[in-house]
Amino acid sequence: MSSSTKAAAPAPVDVAPEHTGGRGAALVQRLVVVRELGILAALLLLIVATVIANPRFLSGQNLRDLLLSASILTVLAAGQTIVIVTRNVDLSVGSVLGLSAYASGTLLVNAPGTPVVLVILAGMAVGAACGLLNGAIVAIAKVPSLVVTLGTLYAFRGLDSLWASSSDRLQINAADLPTGFKSLAGARLLGVPLLFLIALAVVLLVGFYLRNYRSGRELYGIGSDPAAARLSGIPVGRRVLLAFVVNGALAGLAGVLYAARFQTLDATAGTGQELFVVAAAVVGGVAIFGGSGSVYGAALGALLLTTIGTSLPQLGLNPFWRDAAVGALILAAIALDRALSLRLARRLRGRNLRGA
């Protein structure tokens, strides 16, 4: 990869630890930590500014609402991270979420006694099936995931609304859902909303897998340099397929969480979410061309984006600024990553020269 890199457009942080020596790996590691601390700092700054404008921002109710709102985006961003590190992208997650939300709603209407765990598994299965389709087309037909998932973004959403309009229930309302399931939205553990804890668990699990499992590390290798990964014996197709299936399953889980939280389910659930999901990952330091970034960064990105949405009105700013702020944040994040990776590349190069 780096051999063909030219001065004008070198690769972003795609120097996966496997390719560099121990010191290099430590440097990369430090960079990722610095990057995540940066988002955390931005988040804190935003919170402090909002609290100054409106002290009630830190009230228990508001913090709980904030964490609840962030949990769905966080789960989606965690899944998206797995896909993006392999140098792919899944734009269909919003539609998958909608499909899974409607599916779990329909399941609960027809079988109100279904245990919550089973509903979650069903939603994840729907999502995994969608992910399998995406992954299979990408991995087998070897076509760019951007195009494939753009296509399935339309197709899954169409399927969702076709299902809704052909069933006798266009919209599933709170009154149609069993109380046991609805109580998920308000459930708390030690004062923390349960949905957020679920999201947190997902992030930790994905983070643990990516860091400690060989196949997890291989995903980074694939994203850094697919050709080299293939040469070194990594089953690229299978790993990419797996990444899509896991991401689909997580989007399915997000659909169930959506159903629990919003309790009004129709064919429009999750429309346009893909933009925020990709934004959360990119803002969180996941390089759009694969090979680097962590799920913790993506989760922080999701939290930051959600906080922007809720704090703008309280800062006295027109809520219309939200989309513009998200856009500006994406640009700032990729520009920052660029600057950091250039510095890193220089330092690594210096080290290699001395070593030789």
Partner: protein, 361 residues
Amino acid sequence: MTSFLSSRRLRGGLTGAAVAALVLTTAACGGTTRGEEEGGGSAGEASASANPDAEIPSGLKISFLPKQLNNPYFAIADGGGENAVEEIEGEFSEVGPSEASASSQVSYINTLTQQGVDVIVTSANDPNAICSALDQARAGGANVVTFDSDTDPACRDLFISQATSEGIAQSQIDLMAEQMGGAGQVAILSATANATNQNAWIEIMETYAAEKYPDMEIVATVYGDDEDEKSFQETQGLLQTYPELKGIISPTTVGISAAARYLSGSEYKGKVALTGLGTPNQMREFVKDGTVTAFALWNPEELGYLAAYAGAALAAGQITGAEGETFEAGELGEYTVEADGVVVLGEPTVFNADNIDDFDF
């Protein structure tokens, strides 16, 4: 060398684009006088003489084009329309975009024009953007009836209003005043900021509240864009921003149910009053758990039913859309066309714990 060349050529391309833009601009100026007479509401006035005794012919093609498909409110209204069309032995169809945008509605109006339907019954996503398309449809022989959300009156024959704007706005303020004791801060959670209906109601609400309940203060109007999630989050934002808030009025079915769901799961339940326009099925849960005391709505099924009959009466020549004309709307009885081609369905119904179980829509 090549680079210089290519960038110069590109600049040439840019100039080309600019020139083309200029051409477009000047062509637009040149076309000022052309085609102006084809606009305007000619179709309605062409058949200026109404024959109140005309029979409604069977086989009328009546098409419903809601703001968007898969919206429960419009599904009910269209269902009412279908019933009416069955009664007059016409051909009913329902078409529409899956997202509520004006441009996609235009495409569907064009299709209906091309299919040669007799009556288009539509609810506009934008009062002006679909005007030209409706003009073309009328020039092609279709009768245009709007319901729920009107267009510019010049672009349609009739508008079926759910209730008078005054009736809707005042009943919501009265309901709110009753629930919060007539004094304190109130906020409005509306649909989109350019929704014709909501804006008209909000304006009346503000003047009416100022006159009748001087201690009631309307502190903010926020927009949930008729999206469940956004309405939910806007409600959350309102309560954050206005800690003294005593009540929320949401004159849109999507907004009120999202706000009710938020309130019922928060510490504000029972402390912040909520009223507005909602469907009994969506609100039943929250009336029963005490989040909402009372809310209002007209019957959307009757609205669609009336719109279909009005369209049929137009197509049959019973009416032309002029003020004072009357027509029969099946089991709803006789209706009179008011000024500007408006037909009013009636006063809104108020739903509360006592009567909500009598309704299923």
